[in-house]
């Protein structure tokens, strides 16, 4: 027995070694470079919020829907050029005929598009999507934008379909109860991607008005062929697509929820063409910019229409006083926060709107954008009279719980403490923070938040985020709970304008509210930073979607 035991140890070691050798040779086999008709990308630490077109409301899901959709109107991209921000007809033959003093829009749907299963795309498919979006049980977020459509509210209350939207032949008619200058950009949102009256949306003679997580036929250059929640999405080329949009790869494989290190390594060794969630290792930005240059091939930085800010709850004792809110703007260390996101990951701002939406009325002088020193801290402390909070109480600071979010919160907490506040740090999961903060009357004093434009117009920010008339019991987006009649009047006036005057009015309103009321402490306008694999080609950045155009992208 002793002898046999002696053998067992070396035999075990041999076995382990053998497996390692075999495994190593298998691994070596996969390191050969190959020309691929598959585009392999990843999204680190995240998944799409939904793949159901009626519910999808995130940058990543919209980036995917841009490939699967033929919207009535949208943003044009032909021949590998980046999309511009003007809404143009895509599924429609041309701009709509507007009648009835701006209350009726008639679209003619182009013929020639087909779903991935061969079914031709008609006007009826748009109506199906609209009716499904408005259904009582689906509860699509787009309903918050579409109350002006005749019959929409009735549909959300249980009526069968939106009465104000009708189909006749290849014409789609939308009736509004009042003119809406932003209907066109709203229709460009992927909520209005056409769907088929077939599974998985229409099963056993009835519409499925609850979330659909399975693949579905789509009319765009690609369709979703496989979906594993939390793990991946696979897009395949639509064999029946005959439109002008490019579709270089025949399969697009998107791995979700990879680790940051795994994604970064994967890009560096060519497994992943890119990370759709941005450079997964932002601490490398500086090194990458030095090694590859910026916007030259492997490392790209684009600005997007986004503002990250601190919302200060104006209904709470701490931030009722405008001087305390202004003091936070003085004490805030914007450069440090931006550094945490990586080199050149954003530019500091003290305004609500990103610069392109302000019509040129943009300044970084309203409040200091450099890092504070002892002098600024003491002036902030004086201005706020020691944070205005009674001794012993805490500011409840809600923030994210990812590693960079915690670092950001550490910097902000430090600034608040130097100002004389005492801070209670409350880490929360990303989306949950908005939901909870959106309930009126919680203990949230101050929270980090961000807003990306739904469509490129100042109204999307000003009305949704700062209009006091939108405040309800819960699910608010006006996280500062800011309510000011003068502001509302100015807002309505600006909304009635159009063109350059409109943009300028937004910029002026922005500076007015920040100078006089400072309901926010804006931090930065973030940039999208992309790090590409050595074998990635065809990189095109779509501005309105703030993301890589997957149809142009390929690996070789």
């Amino acid at each position: 027995m002793r002898k046999r035991l002696w053998y067992s140890v070396p035999v075990c070691l041999l076995a382990v070694a053998a497996v390692a050798v075999l495994a190593g040779s298998a691994a070596a086999g996969t390191r050969h470079a190959k020309i691929s008709s598959t585009l392999h990308v990843t999204a680190d630490n995240t998944d799409v919020d939904h793949s159901d077109p009626g519910l999808a409301y995130g940058v990543l899901s919209w980036q995917i829907e841009y490939e699967t959709c033929v919207p009535l109107v949208g943003y044009s991209d032909v021949g590998g050029k980046a999309v511009d921000s003007a809404v143009t007809p895509i599924g429609a033959t041309g701009m709509p005929v507007i009648k009835n003093s701006g209350k009726t829009y008639v679209f003619t749907v182009k013929s020639g598009f087909h779903f991935s299963d061969g079914t031709p795309l008609t006007a009826a498919n748009y109506k199906y999507a609209i009716d499904r979006d408005a259904s009582k049980t689906l509860v699509s977020p787009v309903s918050g934008f579409m109350a002006g459509v005749v019959g929409w509210t009735a549909a959300t209350n249980g009526a069968n379909g939106v009465s104000g939207v009708t189909v006749s032949g290849n014409k789609l008619t939308i009736n509004l109860s009042a003119p809406d200058g932003s209907l066109m950009p709203k229709l460009a949102m992927p909520f209005f991607c056409p769907i088929e009256k077939a599974p998985p949306f229409y099963v056993n003679g009835a519409w499925v008005d609850t979330e659909v997580t399975s693949p579905y036929p789509a009319p765009g250059p690609y369709y979703i062929a496989q979906r594993d929640v939390g793990t991946d999405i696979v897009l395949k080329k639509n064999p029946h697509y005959s439109g002008p949009r490019p579709a270089r790869a025949s399969t697009i494989l998107i791995d979700m929820n990879t680790s940051s290190a795994g994604a970064y390594n994967g890009i560096s060794n060519g497994t992943y063409a890119a990370d759709l969630n941005g450079n997964p290792n932002p601490a490398q930005n500086y090194a990458l910019s030095k090694q590859y240059g910026v916007d030259k091939g492997r490392f790209w930085i684009h600005s997007e229409l986004e503002t990250t800010y601190l919302a200060m709850n104006t209904t709470r004792k701490a931030f009722k006083n405008v001087n305390v809110r202004k003091a936070v703007n003085v004490a805030l260390n914007r450069p440090s926060v931006i550094k945490i996101g990586g080199y050149d990951s954003g530019s500091p701002t003290v305004q609500v709107l990103p610069k392109p939406l302000t019509g040129g009325v943009y300044s970084t002088k309203l409040y200091p954008i450099t890092a504070p020193g002892k002098a600024r801290f003491s002036s902030a402390k004086k201005l706020s009279k020691d944070c205005g909070v009674a001794h012993g109480s805490h500011l409840n600071f809600w923030h994210g719980n990812s590693a960079p979010a915690i670092e950001t919160a550490a910097v902000i907490s430090y600034d608040l403490r130097q100002m004389g506040c005492s801070v209670n740090s409350v880490p929360t999961a990303g989306y949950a923070r908005y939901v909870e903060g959106g309930v009126k009357g919680t203990s949230m004093d101050i929270m980090t938040a961000g807003w990306v434009d739904d469509y490129p117009d100042g109204y999307d920010f000003m009305h949704i985020l700062l209009d006091g008339r939108t405040i309800t019991k819960n699910n608010n987006n006006n996280l500062a709970y800011f309510s000011n009649k003068t502001f509302d009047q100015k807002l309505d006036k600006a909304n009635a304008l159009s063109g350059a005057a409109r943009a300028k009015a937004w910029g002026q309103l922005d500076q007015w509210v920040m100078k006089n009321y400072a309901p926010w402490a804006p931090i930065e306008n973030t940039n999208v930073v992309d790090y590409l694999a050595p074998n990635a080609k065809g990189y095109v950045f779509d501005g309105p979607f703030g993301s890589i155009d997957l149809g142009d992208f390929y690996q070789s």
């Binding site: 601490a283 504070p372 907490s413």
Partner: protein
């Protein structure tokens, strides 16, 4: 074997008036008490002594060295320095001189401070000080949790073992129940649900979040001491001296206190020492997941949580907290093993 045990050999009885020559040749051996004999054995275990000394040094370094170094370096563990994070957002490396200027080019003259181990993360605080102050947090949690769980476990186990019957059944079933849980998953769940409320409890002197982790670790840490205590009490319960005490009329409580508890001290000491090491590991894991300790308090686990972000640029950030945890746990394990050997009569030769 037993003849070799120190203290058992008795001095020879000498009749008065006998010649004294024999006495001079025989070495007078004193009887040793239980604790003295334990100490003798323990003294011989150099490695265990090393572990004990390391623990004392660690405690001194964290609780006294921390404030001392903060005073000497001129800044605290929670102070932010912009210059400690370079332009790429990467914390500076070990032995860096960090300027106190708020930003490069700020008007005025600013002195530099020394960061012995560099900065901790993109926030720009002193890693060395956070390591020492973090040790305070980690050790506090581990020690308090151990004290509570061992005390509670001892009581529960002794009660169950001594009284038997329904009390024993309830307590035994309870320990079996907890062992059926995937404990870590349950700890994560419990912390997430009750975390925010627990984090706010400071009892006046503890940092935020320490109470949460202490409670959570205690709740799941008492069943092992309880099982050992119960087993020990069960075997002692039937011994003659307990029976004798009962016949004399001693109450249950007196029997437990005077006769049973002394025999439990040894195993409980051993368990406690090993449990502290285990709790240090457990706290590190939970803090890594973001449970309990909140900013700006640091612990070895939170330092381990911030470190992997910079694994490409500053890989040593993982090393400092990891090594501290390793050394601490190893020391407690060595100490516990040495104590166990010292208390065990069979290894006393």
């Amino acid at each position: 074997m037993s003849y070799q045990q120190q203290g058992v050999v008795e001095p020879p009885v000498v009749a008065p008036g006998a010649p004294p020559a024999l006495e001079d040749d025989i070495l007078q051996i004193e009887a040793l008490s239980y604790w003295q004999s334990v100490w003798r054995v323990f003294k011989r275990d150099k490695v265990a002594i090393g572990g004990g000394v390391t623990i004392v040094l660690l405690i001194l370094a964290c609780f006294i060295g921390g404030p001392a170094f903060a005073h000497a370096l001129g800044h605290g563990p929670d102070e932010l320095f912009n210059d400690a994070v370079n332009i790429g957002g990467i914390p500076v490396g070990p032995w860096s001189h960090v300027s106190t200027a708020p930003y490069p080019g700020a008007p005025g003259h600013f002195k530099s401070v020394l960061f012995p181990l560099g900065a901790d993360s993109g926030v720009g605080r002193d890693e060395f000080l956070r390591l020492l102050y973090g040790g305070q947090t980690s050790l506090e949690i581990a020690i308090f949790a151990t004290l509570i769980s061992v005390t509670f476990g001892l009581l529960m186990g002794a009660t169950a073992g001594y009284f038997g019957g329904p009390i024993d059944m309830i307590i035994s079933r309870l320990t079996e129940l907890i062992m059926a849980f995937p404990v870590l998953l349950f700890i994560i769940a419990l912390s997430a649900v009750a975390g925010p409320q627990l984090n706010a409890i400071t009892l006046g002197f503890l940092p935020n979040g320490v109470f949460t982790l202490t409670v959570v670790l205690s709740v799941f840490g008492w069943f092992y001491p309880a099982r050992i205590a119960r087993a020990q009490v069960l075997s002692l319960r039937e011994k003659e001296f307990v029976e004798a005490a009962r016949m004399v009329g001693a109450s249950d409580w007196r029997i437990i206190r005077s006769h049973l508890l002394p025999h439990l001290v040894a195993p409980m000491i051993v368990i406690s020492t090993l449990a502290v090491g285990g709790n240090v590991l457990a706290e590190a894991g939970l803090s890594f997941l973001g449970i309990g300790i909140q900013d700006p308090i640091s612990s070895w686990g939170t330092l381990l949580e911030e470190a992997p972000q910079y694994y490409l640029q500053d890989p040593w950030l993982v090393l400092w907290p990891g090594l501290m945890i390793l050394i601490t746990t190893m020391s407690f394990n060595l100490l516990g093993d040495g104590l166990r050997d010292a208390f065990d009569p069979r290894t006393a030769n």
